[in-house]
């Protein structure tokens, strides 16, 4: 057994998920590749979005991949940190906006 749940070498083995279900894996990787191509958004913008989402979903593989990916696409450190602040603001905001729900309930049950 591995000592940790996450192993950085597993990132390179992502493609091997096709071993247990090739059809769906092929469809996913096709779609994945298509998503990250330059479109209405540039590849750099997409890498920065991916970096922000990686932090929101707290996936260490994605953080690893999209830190390098953002650098490769020419993003600078400030852009990368701002992307993470966007993720943090949305996550923090998402928690806080539910404060209204809490307040509603308080008002309902309090005299």
């Amino acid at each position: 057994m591995e000592k940790t749940y996450y192993n950085s070498a597993d990132l390179g083995k992502f493609g091997s998920i096709s071993e247990f279900q090739p059809t769906l894996a092929a469809k996913f990787f096709d779609y994945y590749g298509e998503v990250f191509k330059e479109g209405a958004l540039t590849e750099r913008e997409k890498a920065l979005i991916a970096l922000a989402v990686a932090h929101a979903v707290q996936c260490p593989y994605c953080i690893d991949a999209y830190t390098t990916g953002s650098l490769e696409k020419g993003a600078d450190e400030a852009q990368m940190m701002e992307a993470i602040h966007v993720a943090a603001a949305i996550k923090g905001g998402a928690a806080l906006v539910h404060g209204v729900q809490m307040m509603n309930k308080v008002k309902e049950v309090m005299m």
Binding site: E72, K73, E77
Partner: protein, 350 residues
């Protein structure tokens, strides 16, 4: 910072570097041999297509000591080309119609015969590229008129600027390099370089400041153009995205930071047969400061001369014999074949 040679570093020894590259088992990971990959794609032996560029390295002397430098150049390097060897290059050029001469170093402008050499090549009617590190223009009063000199000979100026921010540029190239490079670019712009309609070409070289690969060249060029225009009112023609090859100071950096294995793995995984078919050694011959001939500037720095059947010194230059040669390859060549490919002119696959 000093050159590896001045530090007596083992990485100054080319045999040591080749040993590192050739070790089939680096901590348990075997990288496939580059030659085997070429063979799999019908490219071995690797042959020139047509020699259209003579790249001349006029010496290792430089005013900078960049961390990634494959030449291990610096102010402490005294190896520079003599005027006699330059004359041999001119003689070789005169007997062929190789259209492009690419002058590199070190900082080629530091060679005392640099201007004479450019003038003589110019008289032969060849297109001249100078790989100018930008800061040299400001390094001393005697270099301040280089933009004018380049303009006079319609030299194509190709300059490194690893990034459009000071921090990332200075990390790779030394403190204050970014500000000086910006000033030099403005001086080049002022005499017409990079300006539309002037015909004076100013190209920038981007190479990653770390152990990652360059992204899409066109996209990076767009970003560089936007940021340099916005921030400093600088314009330029093309951006060449170049992959760092695992040799010399960059190899030292990779090994000492534990990045060697993952970087090689990235290069190997990104092997692109189309890029392999377009490697620059197929259209270039490289001349060292002492006149020896090499397949490229990287092989030159690894002291891997052209194969022994071919002429090995500029005094014996023979176009047909060199065109018939087999190119000498090694594991560092993976740097030229990753992704969209890499050469002194940037990507090799569009």
């Amino acid at each position: 910072m000093k050159s590896l040679a001045a530090q007596n570093s083992p990485f100054a020894d080319t045999a040591f570097q080749l040993d590192v590259l050739m070790q089939p088992q680096q901590q348990g990971t075997a990288f496939p041999m580059f030659g085997q990959r070429l063979l799999d794609h019908g490219l071995l032996p690797l042959k020139p297509t047509q020699i259209s560029i003579l790249q001349i390295n006029v010496g290792k002397m430089c005013n900078q000591v960049c961390k990634h430098c494959h030449v291990d150049a610096g102010p402490d390097r005294k190896e520079i080309m003599t005027r006699e060897t330059m004359q041999l290059c001119l003689d070789a050029l005169a007997q062929t119609d190789i259209p492009v001469v690419d002058l590199t170093g070190g900082a080629p402008e530091m060679n005392p015969y640099f201007r004479w050499f450019v003038e003589e090549i110019s008289k032969l009617g060849r297109q001249i590229i100078v790989r100018c590190n930008l800061t040299i223009i400001l390094a001393n009063k005697k270099y301040h008129d280089l933009p004018e000199f380049f303009k006079q000979h319609r030299v194509q100026v190709v300059s490194s600027l690893p990034y459009f921010t000071a921090s990332r540029t200075d990390t790779q190239r030394g403190d204050g390099v970014f500000d000086k490079s910006i000033k030099a670019l403005q001086m080049l712009n002022a005499v017409g370089y990079g300006q539309e309609g002037s015909g004076l070409m100013l190209d920038l070289v981007y190479n990653p400041a770390g152990s990652f690969l360059p992204g899409n060249q066109k996209a990076l060029e767009g970003e560089f153009k936007r940021r340099l225009k916005q921030g400093y009112d600088i314009t330029f023609n093309n951006l060449f995205a170049i992959t760092n090859l695992p040799i010399s100071r960059y190899l030292d950096y990779l090994i000492s930071t534990g990045n060697y294995e993952p970087y090689m793995e990235k290069l190997v995984n990104a092997f692109n047969p189309a890029a392999a078919a377009n490697v620059m050694c197929r259209n270039t011959v490289s001349v060292g400061w002492e006149g020896s001939l090499y397949d490229c500037d990287f092989n030159q720095m690894l002291e891997l001369p052209v194969e022994s059947r071919a002429p090995r010194h500029i005094r014996d230059f023979h176009l047909e014999a060199l065109t018939a040669r087999n190119i000498v390859i090694n594991q560092h060549c993976y740097g030229c074949t990753a992704g969209a490919g890499s050469s002194c002119g940037g990507e090799t696959v569009s």
